[in-house]
């Protein structure tokens, strides 16, 4: 007994040592979830779900994951993706009311439909094949028709206009793609807790899709390990941004509506995801300038922040952070459970008004011209009120300028004439060299590739409005290339306006712990905004024409050949002629025979009347007998001669 124990104790020690070594040498995978709630000035509420999953660098073979979704790591490995972003959006981000300068709107205000861009780590000749296979794999993973981006007519290769400067970047957008539960479900299945636990359990599908704007985004980037022999780590960031309108019972129109999590989503948070490293809910209020007393050490002062004359929160925040433009309340939901659900509510007591900071110029795009032959596209950039207060304005040659990058894709059937590009600043036309600093044009090829335009404008800081217009001709599609609803029109994907000299970031100076959401806000991200999608009616054929043509052609053939055959073959009065011919002379051979027999007999040619049938019958019978006798004789002779030897 004792010997047995002694034999396996060292084994146990060895095992635990090995296990410790194994765990100690590798970094662990990390998952964290966060929810940011923000009331918006126009009586709506923004809910931003943020999930971050990190896989550390490890050996490329034998990669085991326990938190990170295997589908994504296989995707990255197979297609050698360095960075990728896929977003599904419905609704338009209202830049005027919801802001354009904060990191949230720069990163999450996406164009309608599906947008996909990816940077690959393969040789230049294989980038297109990798893109094609990636689109197919993503379409299977997310139940969407992303595979339509595989054809070269639907994607482009931007260079500097897009923000990421790489020649292995491909960008494609499908504005007409629907977004529904079947896209959200596989997206949620990539999370360790799916939609069963934690913050993702709040996502009640009818509530999410009832919103004014909803956008689910998946961003993955690889992190080089820098060490030899180790593969790269992957950082997967999934965000869902929803703008909802809470139901209000108050009659006053200038009061903000009070809301709570259960009134917005119909559910409460019952516990955090146990696999998450951190699980927080943030409430951000803008426009609350911290002009109150600076020291929040006293209990009363701290209490006043979240329960005061203007509003009060239903739960006590764990921490409060301040920033130059607002307050951030942090709630930790680890302590919540089934018995104590977390239901944060905000109750407004007095009417409040504030405004969100906007991008320096607000962009909108529209079509000009009429008819089915040609038209023009115009982009209008208007200065917003917050223009003067923005940092990051540059001084070039002593003048203050704002730099704006414009990136557009044109499908091949919108044949753009790049020489007709006109730029107007404050309603005065400017020559290109004054305002246009850099331009990159990739003209389209009919049915092969789409056109791309990237330009950088340098506008004076005091500009009130700027407009860019460009003319195009409408192309013709082959009848097979028309979609089933061709008369609705065809889409031109959104243009991207970005401001390279402006960077949006939210820095909460008192932030101590590493919260992924806040650290992503802290990074300086490019201020960007997307314009509207344009709907262009093209000339569509009458799709019933092939059927009509076939019917008419067949009718004409039938009439022609029918009448021709009738004319050639049909004889009118054929019946009467036949009956008449019975009484007339028999023609041809019969007459000849009659003549011969008459000559042999020596009788004169008789008229072919009733006599001839009688004569014929007797004549025939003798002839028959003669024939029989002849044949019998021949047979007998043959028999005699053949048997005789």
């Amino acid at each position: 007994m004792a010997s047995l124990v002694r034999s396996w104790i060292p084994l146990l020690i060895l095992q635990s040592f090995l296990v410790a070594v194994a765990f100690g040498s590798k970094e662990a995978e990390q998952f964290s979830e966060a929810l940011l709630l923000k009331p918006l000035p126009d009586r709506k509420v923004l809910a931003h779900f943020h999930f971050e999953n990190r896989a550390p660098p490890s050996n490329s073979h034998g990669r085991h994951h326990h938190l990170f979704p295997k589908a994504i790591s296989q995707l990255v490995q197979k297609f050698r993706v360095k960075e990728m972003e896929l977003s599904f959006t419905q609704g338009r981000w209202n830049h005027e009311h919801w802001g354009g300068f904060d990191p949230l709107s720069s990163m999450n205000a996406k164009p309608v439909g599906v947008e996909l861009w990816a940077v690959f780590d393969v040789p230049q000749s294989q980038v297109d094949t990798s893109w094609k296979n990636l689109t197919h794999a993503l379409s299977g993973l997310f139940c969407a028709s992303i595979n339509f981006l595989e054809s070269s007519t639907s994607y482009a290769a931007p260079t500097w206009g897009f923000g990421t400067n790489s020649d292995k970047l491909r960008y494609g957008s499908l504005p007409r793609e629907a977004v529904c539960t079947e896209n959200l479900t596989p997206w949620l299945k990539l999370l360790p807790c799916r939609d069963k636990d934690g913050i993702s359990a709040l996502m009640n599908r009818p509530s999410v899709y009832r919103g004014f704007y909803h956008s689910q985004r998946l961003h993955l980037s690889t992190v080089e390990s820098g060490q030899e022999g180790l593969g790269s780590g992957i950082v997967l960031e999934q965000t869902l941004t929803v703008v909802l309108q809470p139901e209000t019972t108050s009659v006053e129109t200038n009061m903000q509506p009070s809301w709570s999590l259960s009134s917005l989503f119909g559910r409460k948070v019952v516990g955090s995801c146990v696999l998450a490293k951190s699980s927080n809910v943030y409430l951000q209020l803008e426009g609350r300038l911290g002009h109150e007393s600076k020291n929040v050490d006293t209990e009363i002062e701290a209490h006043k922040l979240w329960k005061n004359a203007d509003f009060d929160l239903s739960l006590k925040p764990d921490r409060v952070l301040r920033e130059s433009s607002g307050l951030l309340f942090i709630f930790d939901i680890d302590k919540s459970s089934d018995s104590e659900p977390f239901d944060l509510g905000l109750n407004w007591k007095l009417p409040s008004k504030w405004s969100c900071q906007q991008a320096p110029l607000q962009a909108s795009r529209f079509l000009m011209g009429s008819g089915n032959e040609r038209g023009a596209i115009a982009i209008l950039l208007k200065a917003t009120e917050s223009q003067e207060k923005l940092p990051g304005r540059e001084l070039t040659d002593g003048r203050c300028t704002i730099k704006a990058n414009i990136f557009q894709i044109f499908p091949w059937y919108i044949k753009v004439y790049y020489h007709t590009l006109q730029i107007f600043v404050d309603q005065q036309q400017k020559t290109d060299s004054e305002v246009l600093k850099k331009i990159n044009v990739s003209p389209s090829t009919d049915k092969v590739s789409s056109g791309m335009l990237e330009m950088m404008l340098e506008l004076p800081c005091e500009v009130k409005s700027a407009a860019i217009s460009i003319e195009y001709d409408k192309g013709f599609l082959h009848i097979d290339e028309y979609p089933p609803d061709a008369n609705q029109g065809f889409d031109i994907p959104s243009a991207l306006i970005s401001f390279p000299s402006h960077h949006a970031s939210l820095d909460f100076q008192e932030e101590l712990s590493k919260s992924p959401l806040l650290s992503s806000f802290k990074e300086k991200s490019l201020v960007r905004s997307y314009t509207e999608v344009l709907l262009v009616p093209l000339t569509t054929p009458d799709f019933s024409m092939p059927y009509n043509v076939i019917t008419i052609t067949c009718t004409i053939f039938a009439l022609y050949f029918g009448s021709l055959l009738n004319v050639l073959r049909r004889r009118i009065g054929e019946e009467e002629r036949f009956l008449k011919s019975q009484g007339k002379k028999t023609g041809g051979v019969k007459q000849l025979l009659l003549r011969l027999t008459a000559k042999i007999r020596g009788r004169p040619i008789e008229a072919p009347s009733s006599e001839s049938p009688a004569a014929e019958s007797s004549f025939l019978s003798t002839k028959l007998i003669f024939k029989i006798i002849l044949i019998a004789g021949a047979a007998a002779a043959w028999q005699y001669f053949s048997t005789d030897k």
């Binding site: 794999a137 629907a178 939609d195």
Partner: protein
């Protein structure tokens, strides 16, 4: 395959919800719905590709019908149709000849064990007129010359929510509980022509088992008989086979699709039997015997000599 996005359509008062009844009790578009082909991808070409399995290399597995010779497949089609056709997206038609050809190809490639086709359109029974492959069961909601009607209008949503045939099919299944062993016969008998306002016609001439013995869970729902084996790769004899069995492989693969249009259920065992006709058997035996001989040449020479002898004898006798 859903051609239009109904649940999240901007006109839908109840986003992400599709009801089959005015009382809004049952949301058919649940949380786990999976739609593989939607929008412009729903074409006759893609449909036939899915059935026959002829996809491009890049098409992912979730968009393929991964069935084999033990699968039970349910194919449910609804929409507008007519005499021997079904309309796709208002621009294309699927003809009964195309469908019969695809099913024939599937049978050749052994892509199903049993196939059930359910069609809910006007003159639905004409769509499977041309079917000839065995092990196919088909039911349509109306005969030639009859229309299929919708059941009722939902004034909240503004459209008719369900067709009659589908409504009564769903009502039949809602009445069952988990322990009922309802058969296909009871399902097919439950359609009342007066309520449907059309005759639900079904075709069983290509289907061998009696409908009263076939449980509905063979096609609807994923209920499988799983056989536990100790070792994975050892072949074992089946209890129901009478013929000589060369190799068997138990298949216990679970299906995960839960769509409205397709359900793919795999059966328990796969049997491969090699039963040849007597003529080929004889030839094979002869071949084997010949192979066993050491010197074939002497046999052949002997045979020729014997033949010559026979010819000479017969000619001299004559």
């Amino acid at each position: 395959m859903l051609a239009d996005d109904m649940a999240c359509n901007a006109r839908n008062e109840y986003p992400a919800q599709v009801f089959n009844n005015e009382n809004h009790k049952l949301n058919l578009y649940g949380d786990n719905v999976e739609v593989d082909y939607r929008g412009y991808e729903v074409t006759v070409e893609n449909f036939l590709r899915v059935l026959t399995g002829r996809h491009e290399n890049a098409v992912p597995r979730s968009k393929r019908l991964l069935s084999d010779e033990g699968s039970h497949i349910l194919l449910y089609m609804t929409g507008h149709g007519g005499d021997e056709f079904l309309k796709f997206q208002d621009a294309e038609e699927l003809q009964s000849h195309d469908l019969a050809d695809a099913v024939k190809q599937m049978k050749e490639k052994r892509r199903f064990k049993e196939l059930m086709i359910m069609v809910d359109t006007c003159q639905a029974a004409t769509l499977f007129n041309q079917l000839q492959s065995p092990d196919v069961l088909a039911i349509g909601s109306s005969l030639k010359g009859e229309n299929s009607y919708s059941h009722h209008l939902d004034s909240d949503v503004g459209v008719s929510v369900v067709d009659r045939f589908t409504y009564y099919t769903l009502a039949f299944f809602e009445r069952l509980n988990i322990y009922d062993n309802a058969s296909l016969n009871s399902l097919f008998r439950s359609y009342d022509p007066k309520l449907l306002m059309s005759t639900a016609y079904y075709r069983t001439d290509l289907y061998q088992p009696h409908l009263a013995e076939v449980p509905v869970t063979n096609f609807f729902g994923s209920v499988m008989e799983t056989l536990h084996t100790d070792s994975v790769y050892k072949a074992f004899s089946s209890k129901t086979s009478n013929n000589k069995i060369n190799s068997e492989m138990p298949l216990n693969q679970l299906s995960e699709h839960d769509e409205l249009q397709k359900a793919n259920i795999q059966n328990d065992e796969l049997k491969t039997e090699k039963q040849k006709c007597p003529y080929t058997q004889m030839r094979v035996d002869l071949h084997k015997k010949l192979e066993k001989l050491e010197n074939v040449d002497t046999v052949v020479n002997l045979g020729i000599a014997v033949m010559l002898l026979v010819v000479m004898v017969s000619s001299s006798l004559l």
